[in-house]
């Protein structure tokens, strides 16, 4: 634990410190040697973000490189997470049905995700090549890997393919805690499949789903290696904030790079905060146990209401547990 605090906390602090320094660099005219020195720059790295625009042309028109990266990040996050959630939940629901071969499917959905991102980036680059198999199947000649809106969609397809199983798997774990009796009761009451899904499944998997979506959102906002490995650096149509920070870091402008990272960090924190506020505070863990207990009570009531028309929900089978524990 100590080491983790050191390993995570220390670099973050270092970055914050870095973001407050600027390296003054000028080239000595006779030797060509860089006169380097760091000085405390206060918040100038942050203010420079806004006062020093570098115009680039991406899909969204000509704008500051940071703004462009910001919009790309947001765009990717929204599109990818929405698509992943829909596909992921669909996967989970299908897998939760007790069909034969479910094990196989479960193993299959892990495949996209088990392939290392660098490999999958290369694989998709091969597929989306101008003379690749995607164009062959589509009968088109689309230049996916250039720098245009097709590149964005290529990234989105690859990302959704890779990470929808993550949501699917977490949702499945949540689904499995829903007792079959709940569905049975609903079926007896004549609830349609869709009603069962929206009235029972969704509310009950919500905690698991929210965690999954939250983590996917935070992850997508930091998206780096997929667009970097697939489309390449310096492509403004797919440049995310992480990629921009990486570029600055690479160009040895550590101050601005750290500043951009912190901007991204704050953006992520903001989104996480809103997320938690809007989609159910109970995942965060309420500060007080009282609130927690209340939330639990509320949830139970909600669950009971959901199946209010049904016959009484079987009580938790306490006897099973008891008998299970008695040998101890």
């Amino acid at each position: 634990m100590l080491v983790i605090a050191l390993v995570v906390g220390f670099p973050i602090l270092f970055s914050v410190r870095e973001s407050l320094f600027a390296s003054s660099s000028g080239v000595d005219p006779t030797t060509g040697v860089l006169q380097s020195g760091e000085h405390f720059a206060g918040l100038s790295n942050f203010t420079d973000i806004f006062s020093n625009p570098t115009l680039v042309v991406g899909v969204w028109g000509s704008m500051d490189r940071l703004v462009n990266a910001f919009i790309n990040t947001t765009f990717f996050t929204v599109v990818c997470v929405v698509a992943e959630t829909i596909i992921g939940v669909a996967m989970a629901v299908i897998m939760s049905k007790a069909f034969r071969g479910r094990g196989l499917v479960r193993a299959a959905i892990l495949v996209p995700w088990a392939i290392p991102t660098i490999v999958s980036a290369k694989m998709w680059a091969l597929i989306f090549d101008a003379n690749g198999v995607a164009n062959k199947l589509l009968g088109q000649n689309i230049l996916w890997l250039a720098d245009n809106s097709y590149s964005q969609w290529a990234v989105i397809v690859a990302d959704v393919w890779k990470t929808a199983p993550f949501i699917g798997l977490l949702t499945l774990a949540g689904l499995q805690t829903i007792p079959d009796e709940v569905y049975e009761a609903a079926r007896v009451d004549g609830a349609s499949g869709w009603q069962q899904f929206t009235r029972i499944t969704l509310p009950l998997v919500q905690p698991a789903l929210v965690v999954a979506v939250l983590f996917r959102t935070l992850d997508t906002m930091r998206m780096f290696d997929l667009p970097f490995g697939m489309i390449g650096p310096g492509k403004y149509s797919v440049e995310t904030l992480s990629m921009f920070a990486y570029f600055e870091n690479n160009a040895l402008r550590y101050g601005p790079a750290a500043a951009y990272s912190i901007v991204l960090f704050l953006y992520i924190v903001l989104v996480a905060f809103l997320f938690v506020k809007l989609l159910g505070a109970d995942v965060v863990g309420d500060p007080e146990a009282k609130a927690m207990a209340e939330a639990r009570k509320r949830r139970k009531v909600a669950a009971r209401q959901a199946k209010a028309e049904g016959r009484p929900v079987p009580k938790p089978v306490r006897s099973t547990i008891t008998s299970g524990d008695s040998p101890s």
Partner: protein, 304 residues
């Protein structure tokens, strides 16, 4: 053993249910489900098929678009295990690092998540926030400070950890833990407190109640989390690339990045794809092995 008996009953129940109603609607659902599963499998495996196909071509035909390799060649696989690539060693390293990280993550994660879900103490929100904040910082900018730390550039940390397992494991913990804690907290909280209370009424200590009642019930969540953590670490690249510079310390992803064609410019698509296939297969086996555990968690639902 309790779980076992229980699995038995519910399996029977399911069986009975399946036989009791075989109405047309159920068959429609069944067919729909099968189609749905087929779609999922195709969706997931079609690009993977492309990977396999690409790996079975001749090394010089990496960019071909034929749907069936012609001729089929295992040269890429032989290439992957060429002694100069040290790939076998890299897989062992990956297994060591991923396993240790997964075990440690679960160990800390389960305890922390259980505490967060059940215990009342102050600043709980703050603890959770800190845990998640750790995982939110863009990883790339952390590398240089970490590099300085592990090369012993700081007087207060005089150890050189380059090319050691701990340098690969500890930073990886930082991204495995938050997800684990969060996921399991949500999970534990779904389990009613009454379960432990009942267990304690029956004479269990809180510890026993936790180990014998809660843990088995949380099995699906725990195994899911374990798989997720394992895969995340298995796929980790930047940390391993930075801290492993000796070829006997490479992890598999790093080893793949060092594959090159013979001439520098030519990307060895075939070997990369072959290595990707080889990296994926152990995970699939892992899942199939633990399948039973995951399903056991499903049917042992004491919450029913």
């Amino acid at each position: 053993m309790t779980t076992q008996t229980h699995v038995h009953t519910s399996a029977e129940e399911v069986h009975a249910l399946a036989h009791r109603k075989r109405s047309g609607k159920d068959i429609a659902v069944l067919v729909g489900g099968i189609i749905g599963m087929a779609v999922i499998v195709i969706y997931c495996l079609a690009p993977f098929y492309w990977m396999i196909v690409s790996s079975l071509r001749l090394p010089t035909m990496g960019r071909s678009t034929d749907f069936i390799p012609n001729p089929v060649s295992f040269a890429n696989y032989a290439g992957v295990f060429d002694p100069s690539n040290n790939f076998g060693r890299a897989i062992i390293n990956s297994i060591i690092v991923s396993t240790v990280v997964t075990v440690l993550t679960l160990l800390f994660g389960i305890l922390a998540a259980y505490a967060l879900a059940r215990l009342r103490f102050r600043f709980k929100g703050a603890v959770l926030a800190i845990i998640i904040a750790c995982s939110m910082f863009p990883g790339i900018t952390l590398l240089i400070p970490l590099f300085k730390l592990f090369t012993g550039s700081y007087p207060w940390f005089p150890l050189n950890w380059m090319n050691t397992y701990q340098a690969l494991i500890i930073p990886s913990l930082s991204f495995g833990l938050p997800l684990c804690v969060w996921n399991l907290t949500a999970f534990f909280r779904q389990l009613p407190v009454e379960l432990e209370q009942a267990a304690m009424v029956d004479g269990c200590t809180p510890g026993q109640a936790f180990v014998r009642v809660i843990l088995p019930l949380a099995a699906p969540g725990i195994f899911t989390t374990a798989i997720i953590t394992f895969i995340a670490v298995w796929n980790e690249f930047l940390i391993a690339l930075t801290f492993a510079t000796r070829s006997d310390m490479y992890t598999a992803t790093v080893a793949i990045s060092k594959f090159t064609g013979q001439y520098g410019f030519d990307t060895p698509w075939g070997s990369i794809m072959a290595a990707g296939v080889l990296l994926t297969v152990p995970l699939i086996i892992l899942v199939l092995v633990f399948q039973r555990r995951i399903v056991a968690g499903l049917t042992a639902g004491g919450v029913k």
